[in-house]
Symmetry: C2
Subunit: 266 residues, 2 copies
C-alpha cells in the first residue's frame, strides 16, 4: 500500500500527479492526503483573519488556531481544497472520495489547548488553541473504501478526545495513517526538489538519509520541514519501509519521487 | 430505507434530530441529506459576495451561482456545515461520514449555464450560472457505506456532464437519491410545522396531501417550498411510498414527522 501526501502550495502539478496516481493504483492500493495552506492563507487574508505563525521551543513552526481561524480552516480544507481536488481527480479518471479526519472518526487527536511558543528569547504559554496531534487512526473507513475500489482523499481537521473539531498537521496524520494501514511506502510531495541540506540552496538536495541520521538533520530544517522529518522518523519506526520526498512541481511528481529523484529515507 | 433531508436554517434542532436518527437506524438503513443556507448567507455577507435570488417564469425561487458564489457555497456546505454536522452527530453516537455529491460521482447534474428569470413582467436569460439539476445518482458509494454500518451525510455540490462542480438543489437531489436507493420513506424537515395552505399562517398546516393534488398546491407555495413539492411529486412517481414534511425545530423532529404531525404525502 502507498500513502501519498501532497502539499498545499500553489505550484503542485495536479495533472501530473493524477496521471501518476492512475499508474500507482494499477500496482497497489493508494491513499492521497493533501494540504491546503495556499487556499487557507488567501481566504484568511480576504476575511481579515490573521494567520498567526509561531515557533515551538524546539524550533518547529506551526499556526495558531483560534475559533475564527478554525472556521477559515474548514472553509479552505474540506470546503474549497478537497472538493476541488476530488473533482479534478475524477475528471482524470480516478474514482476519488474526499474525507476529512472527522469522517468515520478517522483521525483522533490529542488536543493542544495550550501551546508553548518561543518569542525572541522567551517561552510563552498560548491558550485557546484549537489544534491537536493525530495519535490514533480508525482505519476501518479507509479499508472499506479501498476494498470497494475507491481512492480515498484525506485532509484535516481531526477530532480531539472530546469529539471536538481541531486543526491537525497533515504530515503527522499521514504518518499515523500509513502506520495504521500497514503501508510499505510513503511519498511526500512539496515545492522543493527534496530535503535540502541548505534550505536556501535548491542544489543542496540530499539523495538519501538513513533513519538513524534523521535527527541530526533537524537543525538544518526550516518551517514545516522539521515536522516532516519527525513524521518520517515516526513512520519508519512504525513499520513503513521507505519514505520518499519529491518535487510536486515536476511533470510526473510521484513517479520521479519513487524513482529516487528526491530524497529517500530508509 | 429512510432518506431524511434537514434544511439549512438556524433553528433546526440537531440534538433532537440526532436522537431520532439513533432510533431510526435501529429500524432501517438511513441517509441524511442537509442544507446550509444560513451558513452560506452569513459567509456571503461577510465576504461581500451578494446572494442573488431569482424567480423562474414558473415561480420557483432559486439562487444564481457565479464563480464567486460557488466558492462561497463550497466553503459553507462541504466546509463549515457538513464538517460541523458530522462532528456533532458523532458526539451523539452516530458513525457519520460526510460526503458531497462530488464524492464517488454521487450526484450527476444537468448544467443550467443559462437560466430564464422573471424580473417584474419580463423574462430574461441569465448567463454564466454554475448550477445544475441532479438527474442521475451513482448510488454505489452510499450502498458500500450503508452495508458497512455508516450513516452517510450528504450535501451539494454535484458534478455536471463535464465533471465540473455545480451548485445543485438539495431537495431535488434528495428525491433522486431516494429513488436510486429504492427508499420507501422520505422526510423533509424545515422551519415550519409542515405544508401551509397560507404561507403566512402557521396554523394553516395541511395534514395530508394525496400525490394527485400536489400540482394544485404549487400556486400557494412560496420560495423553496414549490421546489420541495416538485421533489415530493418526483419521489412518489419514482417508487417512494410516503413522504413526510415536519418541523425541524421540534423536540423530536423526525419522530414527530413520521407520526404524521406535519404533512403526509402518499
Amino acid at each position: 500500500m502507498l500513502i501519498v501526501k501532497a502539499g498545499g502550495g500553489p505550484g503542485i502539478n495536479w495533472d501530473g500527479l493524477a496521471a501518476d496516481l492512475v499508474e500507482a493504483r494499477g500496482r497497489e492500493e493508494t491513499v492521497l492526503i493533501h494540504g491546503g495552506n495556499a487556499v487557507r492563507d488567501a481566504l484568511a487574508a480576504r476575511l481579515g483573519v490573521p494567520v498567526r505563525r509561531v515557533v515551538s521551543p524546539s524550533g518547529v513552526a506551526s499556526v495558531v488556531t483560534d475559533k475564527d481561524a478554525l472556521d477559515v480552516f474548514l472553509m479552505a480544507y474540506p470546503g474549497l481544497a478537497s472538493t476541488g481536488i476530488v473533482a479534478g481527480l475524477r475528471r482524470r479518471g480516478l474514482d476519488a472520495v474526499g474525507l476529512s479526519g472527522v469522517d468515520g472518526g478517522l483521525w483522533r487527536a490529542k488536543a493542544k489547548r495550550e501551546i508553548p511558543v518561543r518569542e525572541g528569547d522567551k517561552t510563552k504559554l498560548l491558550r485557546g488553541n484549537r489544534t491537536g496531534r493525530v495519535e490514533a487512526v480508525e482505519a476501518r473507513l479507509l479499508q472499506v473504501l479501498l476494498r470497494a475500489g475507491y481512492l480515498p482523499v484525506l485532509c484535516a481537521p481531526a477530532l480531539d478526545e472530546d469529539g471536538l473539531i481541531v486543526n491537525a498537521d497533515n504530515d503527522t496524520a499521514a504518518a499515523a495513517t500509513a502506520a495504521a494501514l500497514g503501508a510499505e511506502t510513503m511519498v511526500f510531495l512539496f515545492e522543493a526538489p527534496g530535503f535540502l541540506s541548505d534550505p536556501d540552496d535548491p542544489g543542496s538536495r540530499v539523495a538519501e538519509i538513513p533513519a538513524a541520521e534523521i535527527e541530526s538533520r533537524l537543525p538544518s530544517a526550516r518551517g514545516g520541514m522539521a515536522r516532516k522529518l519527525i513524521a518520517v522518523s515516526r513512520a519508519l519506526a512504525r513499520g513503513v519501509r521507505a519514505v520518499y520526498f519529491g518535487d510536486g512541481r515536476a511533470a510526473r511528481p510521484l513517479r520521479d519521487a519513487l524513482a529516487g529523484r528526491g530524497t529517500v529515507f530508509r
